[in-house]
């Protein structure tokens, strides 16, 4: 029986955690088996929740989000016979599967679309917690924007420096409004539940927004230009179905990241934009464009 520990933000953040939830639900439907779950409410509960899952014999125990890395590492050592998995971080243990994504590639495509959609030549980025992972999003996004329009300006803000930054829609909205005031007309939020505030603000101001992790296009049709989906659902589903220790990297090629185009944003995606995205995708896949990974060298260079 697998178990999942959602991180701060909760399984209904309509973003990262929710994607994991969707994946597990799919697994549940297909197998007819049940899984254990826990949503942590504060930082200290992570390790306890993981340990409790392990104590109950759950396997694999899946930690959603890098925040759980240290907890998984610790508990995985204590329970070497059980299986563990961590999403978005790497834990080097024989009984742990780590799943990481090439967010920079997906973000690149999002940047391409943003630059194409922007009239003002100013696009925005709102990150959740200021951590390398989010800088990775920003870095890929910036490259995509510059790829289309080298003169475009990317205005970026981070919501905060702690886990609370994933869960602060009010502040997200404020940051978005501040960016709009400076002329931004497309904003990409990689901020978990905080993003909900960003999208709402974009809608209120008649601007465009780009979702993250889950496909968030349906949240505000007409406002959501696209979503940079990170198939956490697929990852979690695979882990639940077939746990294989080691590190799994999911990028554009593996279908692990992408921009979502569906009935909710069809009208916003012009053929020109679509073409640019396809070109960029092909270039990345063929290696013609090498998208810089911020986390590889801790800088966007």
């Amino acid at each position: 029986q697998p178990a999942v520990v959602f991180d701060m933000g909760g399984k209904f953040d309509r973003s990262f955690n929710q994607a994991a939830y969707v994946g597990l639900e799919r697994w549940k439907k297909e197998t007819g088996k049940n899984y254990l779950e826990f949503e942590i409410a504060n930082e200290t509960q992570r390790e306890q929740a993981i340990r409790r899952m392990a104590e109950r014999g759950a396997s694999p125990v899946i930690g959603i989000g890098f925040g759980q890395a240290s907890g998984i590492e610790k508990v995985a050592k204590e329970f070497p016979k059980q299986k563990f998995a961590i999403i978005d971080s790497v834990v080097n243990l024989p009984n742990v599967q780590s799943v990481v994504f090439k967010e920079h590639e997906g973000s690149f495509l999002a940047g391409v679309m943003a630059a194409k959609a922007s009239r003002s030549g100013k696009v925005g980025f709102i990150g959740g917690m200021d951590i390398p992972l989010i800088r990775k999003f920003l870095c890929g996004y910036e490259q995509g924007v510059k790829y289309v329009n080298p003169k475009a300006e990317v205005i970026a803000n981070m919501t905060g420096t702690t886990g609370a930054a994933w869960n602060d829609p009010v502040r997200g909205g404020e940051l978005a409004k501040a960016q709009f005031a400076r002329g931004v007309d497309v904003v990409f939020a990689a901020a978990g539940a905080t993003g909900l505030g960003v999208y709402q603000a974009a809608k209120d101001a008649g601007k465009l927004a780009i979702g993250v992790d889950s496909n968030q296009n349906h949240l505000h049709p007409g406002t959501m230009l696209t979503s940079m989906v990170k198939r956490v659902d697929v990852a979690v589903y695979n882990v639940a179905k077939n746990h294989s220790p080691g590190t799994t990297v999911l990028g554009l090629a593996e279908g692990g990241v992408d921009v979502a185009i569906d009935e909710h944003n069809q009208k916003l995606v012009t053929p020109d934009m679509r073409k640019a995205v396809e070109e960029a995708r092909a270039a990345i896949l063929s290696g013609k464009i090498k998208v810089i990974d911020y986390m590889a060298n801790n800088a966007c260079r």
Binding site: L36, F38, A41, N42, E43, T44, Q45, E47, Q48, R51, R52, E55, F66, G67, A69, S70, E78, S89, M129, I131, P132, L133, T161, T162, G163, N298
Partner: protein
């Protein structure tokens, strides 16, 4: 015509129990309202808290933290002060223990390191409590407000230090590096194992003994030492304190210093005992739970210990219920805690009169004590 008063024994046993029952009743109503069966919840809760070695250990582990914060409220209360700052003092305590551990643990053995961490935890918590105490004693700033403000200041300070100084570079989690092994308080199951007793693993660590020691210490201090006596005089009757030549300011500082040190010990339980590194929000509202604990326990160390066990059981059992019963969240325990504070604290006297009347409603009236 005149209202009968509640006898003392009833004031100490019946009234708190009645208040607790009321709080549980209201919480049960809420449980029922959200479509759960209160009886099921209670059953799972009790089983989760006491039904297994592991459950008991977890209960004790939570209780340990609550004993510290509860005593921190109780000691201050005996000096007539309402210490809402347990949260901040506990944060500082953890910070103290953590800083010492990060700094010295690699080079010191456990038997030096652990006492040092305990000392640091107490000193940091104490220092944090002494500022509002000093402001109250010498500048008349109301301690309730200043301690609230100090809670916020403490948590921003912790965030600042963790984010800017203590975080492992390149790591994404806002946590310090792991402490060296010498800075870890042994877990109870490890100790028992070393003694040849099998016991389920749990976060319960040796700070549970420190908590017991603290409760005894506070009891002895308050009722068996001169300083404790004077502290209680200051709290119970400022006029009598002046008459007896006791300087209130000094005892305000003493009481809050002790309170801060006690709350700081939460750092030992959570940081040295469980997480083994400094992290955000490790106090998790225990400072506020301490208020409920002290109110329930009537500010007596024994009462605080009992109330801590109650709350420990509620927290552990509540977590278990959250696991077992879908749709039930641990927040229910938080709400219950709120009801207990309301009924045992703010409305504690509301039931006194009807209760007294119920008790007095007997055919034969017991004779009152004689008059001079």
């Amino acid at each position: 015509m005149s209202a009968p008063t509640l006898p003392r024994w009833a004031e100490w046993t019946l009234l708190p129990l009645a208040n607790l029952a009321l709080a549980l009743g209201v919480a049960g109503l809420v449980v029922w309202l959200i479509g759960q069966n209160p009886a099921d919840v209670i059953r799972v809760l009790l089983h989760g808290a006491f039904g297994s070695q592991r459950g008991i250990s977890y209960t004790l582990y939570y209780a340990t933290t609550f004993v510290f914060t509860g005593l921190a409220v109780a000691v201050a209360f005996h000096a007539g002060l309402f210490n809402i700052g347990g949260e901040g003092q506990a944060i500082l305590g953890g910070l103290g223990a953590g800083l010492v551990a990060l700094w010295l643990a690699p080079s010191l053995p456990a038997w030096v390191m652990l006492p040092l961490m305990g000392l640091a935890a107490m000193l940091f918590g104490m220092a944090w409590a002494l500022v509002p105490a000093w402001l109250q004693a010498y500048r008349g700033s109301h301690i309730v407000i200043t301690t609230i403000m100090f809670n916020f200041l403490a948590s921003t300070l912790l965030v600042y230090l963790l984010v800017n100084w203590l975080k492992v570079p390149g790591s994404m989690a806002v946590e310090s590096a792991d402490f060296a092994d010498s800075a870890r308080l042994p877990r109870v199951h490890e100790v028992l194992q070393a003694m040849g007793i099998e016991w389920a693993s749990s976060p319960l660590n040796l700070s549970v003994l420190l908590a017991a020691l603290a409760a005894v210490g506070v009891y002895v201090f308050l009722w068996h030492t001169r300083a404790g006596y004077r502290l209680r005089v200051v709290g119970a009757s400022p006029g009598a304190a002046a008459y007896a030549g006791v300087t209130p300011a000094r005892y305000i500082l003493l009481a809050m210093g002790m309170a801060g040190a006690l709350a700081g010990m939460v750092g030992m339980n959570e940081i040295a005992g469980v997480s083994g590194r400094l992290m955000l929000d490790f106090v998790a509202g225990a400072g506020f739970t301490g208020i409920a604990v002290a109110l329930m326990g009537r500010n007596h160390p024994l009462g605080v210990v009992l109330a801590s066990l109650l709350f420990g059981a509620l927290f552990q059992g509540g977590a278990e219920v959250a696991f077992e019963i879908p749709g039930f969240t641990r927040d229910m325990v938080v709400a219950l805690q709120g009801f207990i504070v309301l009924f045992s604290g703010a409305m504690s006297v509301v039931l006194a009169k009807p209760l007294a009347r119920a008790l007095a409603w007997r055919p034969a009236q017991p004779k009152e004590h004689g008059h001079g």
